[in-house]
Amino acid sequence: MIESSRSAQESALDAEHDPLAVETELPSSLMTINLGPSHPAMHGTVRLTVTLDGETIVNAIPEIGYLHRGFAKSSENSTWHQVLPYTDRLNYVSPILNNVGYILAVEKLCGVKDPPRSQFLRVAAGEISRICDHLTCVAAIGLELGAFTVFLYAVEARELLWDRIAELTGARVTTSWTRIGGIANDSPPGWDDKVRECLPRVMELTEEVDKLLTRNRIFVDRTRGIGILSQEDALDWGFTGPCLRATGVNYDVRKAHPYLVYDQMDFEVPLGTRGDTFDRYLVRIEEIRQSHRIVLQALDKMPPGPVIIDDWRYALPPKKDVYSSIEGVMAHFKIIMEGIKVPKGEAYAYSEGANGELGFHVVSNGQGKPYRVHVRAPGFSILSALPALIKGHMLADLIPIFDSINMIGGEVEQ
């Protein structure tokens, strides 16, 4: 593809070029440069082979796979629960959303439902993760357009939330927090209040970021009308999530097919109008506000009660029973050593990840290990449209466009 476009361009230049004329344009040829896989301006390790005509991008070929870890193959050789840590590393900025997405698929296969408190906690922690993810994306766009302050503000807000996640799960990003039929542990005492205390500061910082960027002349000039994709094209490329909603398509899994307790939550789905970099940024800022609303509602409505089902086929028995009763120790042994026996069959469960529809297609042949785990990573389809997004723009626009689709190597390259 590069070859053909190059020869076409060159022949066109040759035809125009008259060696006798004084006032002809300087002859130029196409230039191919490598961006990445390790480049300060690139997110993660992705390599772009960009063909330039001057500073205009003629073509770009993304090359991915530098972060490929064999997620699917590893999952096939682990028990159902041992897959959880691998899901942390899919979208490592919002790991809880991945944990929840995967567990929803396994629960769909098993036909179990977690207790209400677990559902509310999953929603609250998931939305906190979503805020972290969007903050990271917004911070990066700002940073790479020269707004370092934005980055510091957003990361401060993110740190506040990651501390809450760490209090809840024991880890900032490697959470592995969900379990089949519930979650690993209840929130620690006083956690709700801590979240309520830190959220105002997070929102204050978000508003600062909003003020710094949304009406900032430089930022708007660099992002308005850049990297436009129409609604039809976005769907055709398989866009979901904020990138799709920036084009004005109203598709949010939380609203379209509510899971957990999202049907009890009051929130709006922000939509863009043009589908450019600016809209993708704006949708994310607004989604942070909506997620904030959801977190508060979830905390308010959260009922007391158990956080995991009391079925020893799926959930580990309490430690007291494991140490002192034969029933407990056998259930514990079977679940740990052989894995949970998930009924035969296939299931596709999808939830709204930070970047779009996060789907897990799981197949079981009735054993303690998954037969197949396939992840529908929202970023994968979005990244595949990158050449279409950046073609015709200047090289300098590549980075903001690339930022705004929020490519996460972990989930794209599995």
Binding site: G70, K73, L109, L235, D236, Y251, H361, R376, S381
Partner: protein
Amino acid sequence: MSKALIELVRERFPGAVTSSSSDRGDDSVVVKRESLLEILTFLKNDEATQMKLLADIVALDMLTYQSEMTGGGSLASQEVTSYSLSKKPQGEPRYRILYNLYSVTLKHRLHVRVEVRSDDAKVPSAVGIWKAADWLERLAWDMMGVEFTGHPNLKRILLYPEFVGHPLRKDYPVQKRQPLVAELDFPDLVRGPGPGPGGAGVPMSQTHVGRTNVDPTTYD
């Protein structure tokens, strides 16, 4: 609601749908390969379906679905004994390709499947219908080795071009390594604790870990 979708496909393409199911709320139709593209095009463009979003393409290898274990020989070990190698379970048609379609306007989802045999693992490419199919098909080719005929650029996507084989096939050994640069067999490298060939404390050079592609009947 979605049952109607299956019925619609059945009505519109009599004879093309070999089976259908609505297991756990996932509606899926198994269609014949010859009419796959026709059905996909219909599902995308028809007013009653409007499946503008190709959410995913999943490739599935059914080779060992009927057998007891998915991984290696025993529960914790991934060694495969020669008996298991000599008696490979046969699951035909071996590959299942699943197109996960969704309509953002009508909010319904349908899984369209094709089943292909291992000696003829080819599926017509849907790149002409959805642009998203480009990378999704490359991923399926890379990982499962199912060929999408008519794809303009069917290259590996996550793995490097020199890679041999398709790792998500069930007969691809879990422990197989294909380094781009040859790995040195350090004689002083000692396995850590835990189960595995050679056991703890045995020098790596005396185990076959990491050297599975070496023919054991030759000298080196």
